[in-house]
């Protein structure tokens, strides 16, 4: 059973190589290889779902620890808990979705495209599994490269600018994290005489509060950039806008989640006291992100840019929730991540489909699309209202629990953050209005736009079911991640503070 986690990484990695090599023979081969690889991963993962909630199961469902660079105390240590599991499932599912929706969009260098897609998936899964800090950093950097290629090679007009911006932002911040990781490791080594990058060993490392603060900041910035939190968000609109549809889906659906995951897994548990001192600042950033992202989303003309800024807004909730650091907020963060992955991914798919049909993303050139493409518009409506947090759909559960959790941590932040719900309504409905409603404008370039194909409808239907399922019956997700979150909370609560639970 231990090989399972390795297989989880190997299958897409090798699948990527095969997809690349087979691309020269027939463009459909890489597509099928990608689907098989991801489906195999999914099949491997599914049995784990049950194991997380088995009685007597510790927070870790399964793990593996192999020597890798023993000289430096680095090991190939993969651990899976409910949190990782849920996020990995999201990754795989959105990976599959990306392959399917790229079927007609990507016709050039199909092999390399799917290779990059699979490698990016590998990197992300690795990030969610790695518990050795160096291994984590390795995957963290690894996912950057294929993502860069996805944007730079298959993107739109300003793809190079966007891709480089993406890499520079993430790389710059992650080097800070590397410095912080190393400093932490050396501090631990000085205290114990033991050089190790093992997360579990490094938990609870004693250091002065000033040191802890700076190290925490190093981690925080890396994850805040990836999340992205204001003011580190500006790479996101460019990257989202220029990426091909699958790239946007992966970016929004999966890559952003690694930032939130990092905050949950590393920032707070490794530096509980510093993180709690820092919480007001982080929560301010979260609230600022919610409102600022929403405001900017409201002002955009490019549909993808608008959705990108809406992501900034949604991720502001995540940041707020993480630093509220109680069960309600953290569970809300998890659901918010999943729901955002599904709803924003779906919106990007729709924009991609739209661009394929009318060759523009500029909403000034749209309008009245409902007449020509009622299905596409209908799905667009559903996900727009999911994005504004309508109860019954997944995003609401996330936002509500985050707000409820943060209400216990700080009332003012919560009140200001909840204004984001109004702002969310403003931009989401504006999107619907400008694209699908209103007067039908002459569609540039295309004689008769056609509605969604069966392939897209199937994907979108699945995503609709997912978002409704998350909205109406999120309890299985909560059950999956509860033990893992409890363990994190145990680590992440500074001594002297009792966890903020139950009755105030």
């Amino acid at each position: 059973m231990n090989m399972l986690l390795i297989l989880l990484l190997l299958i897409p990695a090798i699948g990527g190589v095969l997809a690349w090599l087979s691309g020269a023979r027939h463009p459909d081969w890489p597509r099928w290889i990608a689907i098989f690889a991801l489906a195999a991963d999914l099949l491997l993962t599914l049995p784990l779902i049950g194991r997380a909630v088995m009685p007597g199961q510790s927070a870790w469902i399964t793990s593996i620890d192999l020597p890798w660079i023993p000289q430096l105390g680095i090991s190939f240590e993969l651990n899976l808990d409910g949190l990782s599991l849920v996020l990995i499932l999201l990754t795989i599912v959105l990976g599959l979705v990306s392959v399917v929706i790229s079927w007609s969009e990507i016709t050039e260098r199909v092999g390399l495209f799917h290779a990059n897609l699979l490698w990016a998936t590998t990197g992300v899964i690795g990030v969610f599994l790695a518990l050795d800090l160096f291994l984590f950093f390795f995957f963290w950097e690894l996912m950057l490269v294929p993502m860069y290629f996805l944007i730079a090679l298959w993107g739109h007009e300003h793809r190079f600018y966007a891709a480089i911006k993406f890499v520079i932002f993430t790389q710059g911040s992650s080097l800070l994290m590397l410095v912080a990781i190393l400093a932490l490791v050396f501090i631990h080594q000085r205290a114990t005489g033991h050089l190790t990058f093992d997360y579990l060993a490094l938990l609870g490392t004693k250091m002065s509060s000033a040191t802890a603060f700076w190290l925490m900041l190093g981690f925080f910035i890396a994850f805040a950039v990836k999340l992205p939190a204001v003011p580190f968000h500006t790479w996101l609109p460019d990257a989202h806008t220029e990426a091909p549809t699958a790239g946007s889906v992966l970016l929004a659906g999966v890559l952003l989640k690694t930032g939130a995951y990092g905050l949950l897994r590393f920032v707070v548990p490794l530096f509980p006291a510093a993180a709690h001192e820092f919480a007001p600042v982080a929560m301010t950033l979260g609230v600022a992100g919610i409102l600022y992202g929403a405001l900017l989303a409201f002002g955009q003309n490019d549909m993808k840019r608008m959705i990108a800024y809406s992501s900034v807004s949604h991720m502001g909730f995540v940041l707020l929730g993480v630093f509220a650091w109680n069960t309600l907020a953290l569970q809300g963060v998890v659901v918010q991540m999943l729901a955002h992955g599904v709803s924003t991914g779906a919106l990007f798919i729709l924009v991609g489909a739209l661009q394929e049909r009318i060759h523009t993303r500029d909403m000034r050139l749209m309008g009245g699309l409902w007449g020509a493409m009622p299905r596409l518009s209908g799905f667009g409506m559903i996900f727009a209202i999911a994005s504004l947090g309508l109860p019954g759909l997944g995003n609401f559960i996330g936002e509500f629990l985050i707000l409820l959790g943060s209400f216990r941590a700080s009332v003012p932040f919560t009140v200001v953050a909840s204004l984001g719900l109004v702002a969310g309504a403003a931009y989401a409905l504006l999107l619907v209005q400008r694209a699908f409603h209103g007067r039908t404008t002459a569609q540039p370039g295309s004689a008769k736009p056609f509605d969604l194909t069966a392939r897209h409808i199937a994907v979108m239907g699945g995503l609709v079911l997912a978002i409704i399922g998350l909205g109406l019956y999120p309890q299985p997700v909560f059950d999956q991640v509860a033990p893992g979150l409890a363990a994190l909370q145990h680590e992440g609560t500074p001594p002297g503070n009792t966890p903020m639970e139950g009755q105030p």
């Binding site: 409201f298 409905l429 699908f436 409603h437 109406l472 999120p474 639970e501 105030p504």
Partner: protein
Amino acid sequence: MHELLWLVPTLPLLGSVILMLGAGRLSIRAEAAAGALSVGFAAVIAFTIAGGFLLSPPAGAAYEQTLWRWFDVGGLSVTIGLRLDPLSLVMMLVITGVGFLIHLFATEFMEGEEGYGRFFAYLNLFVAAMLLLVLGDNFLTLYTGWEGVGLCSYLLIGFWWRDPANGLAARKAFIVTRIGDTALLIGLLLIASRLGTLNIAGAMHNAAQSWPAGSPLATLAAFLLLGGAVGKSAQLPLQTWLPDAMAGPTPVSALIHAATMVTAGVYLIARTHALFLLAPAAQYTVGGIGAATLLLAGFSALAQNDIKRILAYSTMSQIGYMFLALGVGAWGAAMFHLLTHAFFKALLFLSAGAVTMRLHHEQDIFKMGGLARRLPVAFWSFLIGSAALAALPLVTAGFYSKEAILSGAWADGSSGRVLWAAGVFGAFITGLYIFRAVFIAFFGEAHTEVSGRYGWRVILPLTVLSVLSVLGGLIELPPAFGHVTLLSNLLAPVLPATKEAASVVPLLVASLAGLLGIGLAAVLYWRPARPPAETPLWRFWHAAAGFDWLYGRLLVRPVLWAAREGADDVIDSVYDAIAWTARTLHEQVRRTQSGRVRFYTAGLAIGSISLIAIAMIR
């Protein structure tokens, strides 16, 4: 029969889903059937359940049905559950009953429109959401329905999506009510955090236990709930969306105004009255808001020419009465008025719709005229509705419910007297504005062609609602008229008793005020009138006291400006500046690479001398 309760909201939801999935594949007949019958069956079940409920009331006067556990996290457990008690029973009957009649009317009204199936999908969803709102046993389920009706109102107001103005009205409705919703949500956060539960009954119980009367937290919570209520019920200061919501098809207006949506605020306050009893300040505010709104809306209605806008302001005004009632603790009277209002307002809208569907959707009353003879069905329906609205004494349902409210206000001490006075003045205005519309539209000369005939699906709802508007008041009569208390008895387990005025003087004064209004309207508008001159005063009231203008200046424009100016993301300019700095530095250092060997040697020498200098410093 109780076990079938879950079917009541589910059937309309199912109808909606079927219509959405079948979009473009179902015939018009099938769509009409799915749309109307789903609500019809729900109504049948609802009435059956109601019968069972009345015959053999369950223990505690409430029946609860838990569908499934929504989530259970961090000590907070929320179920998707329904709770049927007298209050929700009344609401459920109104929603399904009146809702069904409106659906039936709409199947004929909407014939030939593009998106027929889509219309009924939204309409069904609207009913389903409203049912969830009133039946939900906890705040979160209520909130789900609450947001659901907001969404459906958005969808339906913007139903004719080709006209951007409709889209604007729809978004305005959603966003303005969302402001209130957000206050409500914060209220829920407060309740959940402080009272530890989101179950409505449980929370009310805990509130009474842990919060003394007048405590800041109770007051805060009540005000936050009130914020949600004024948004949905279009009361000051969040009333501006309602007149614009007329952009939707007329059955939608009927549904919003009569059966769903705007009554939600009244329901919420009635449902959480225990909390408002703990917060006198909030309760006074409720009454004050009601009085202010009913006057403001009444004056505004006087300055409208569009028949639907007149009705819209009348709704605002009537909901104001209900708020007034809630504010003075006349809970039962508020629900009574809610009930009769549902009948006559649905009747008014449907008959107005019946008029406009024969007039090529002409809604200006000054372009109508002389319709009484040519459209007798619509005329009589509208007349009955107007009479009920104007509280024509004795013969209309509206009279009894309004009297109940005013009597409750009279009995509520000195501050109640002030509200009573406002209500009486409002009654005068009501009579004036609605009969102004009646006289101008239905009497005098004809200005517009009339075409077509009504089918049974129009006539039947009008008839039923007319009967209800006349007779519906008989379930609750004041002491002076035989003191029937069917409704109060029913509501007694959930709502505290209403104080009633002992004297008949206020009753007489109020009746007189209404009659006076009608009389004045007759004097002023009996003769065919020309559209009013656009005096500043007229314009002020036509624009409903300029709230739109004010909000536009204070909120909308600044936000639009910020969004437009900020669209390029100021924060990015910081990074652009960093990139620019790097490029500039590059250009500068690049110039040192001049290619001249002597310059390079100089660099070598200077570097070496600097190093030597550093070495020699110590």
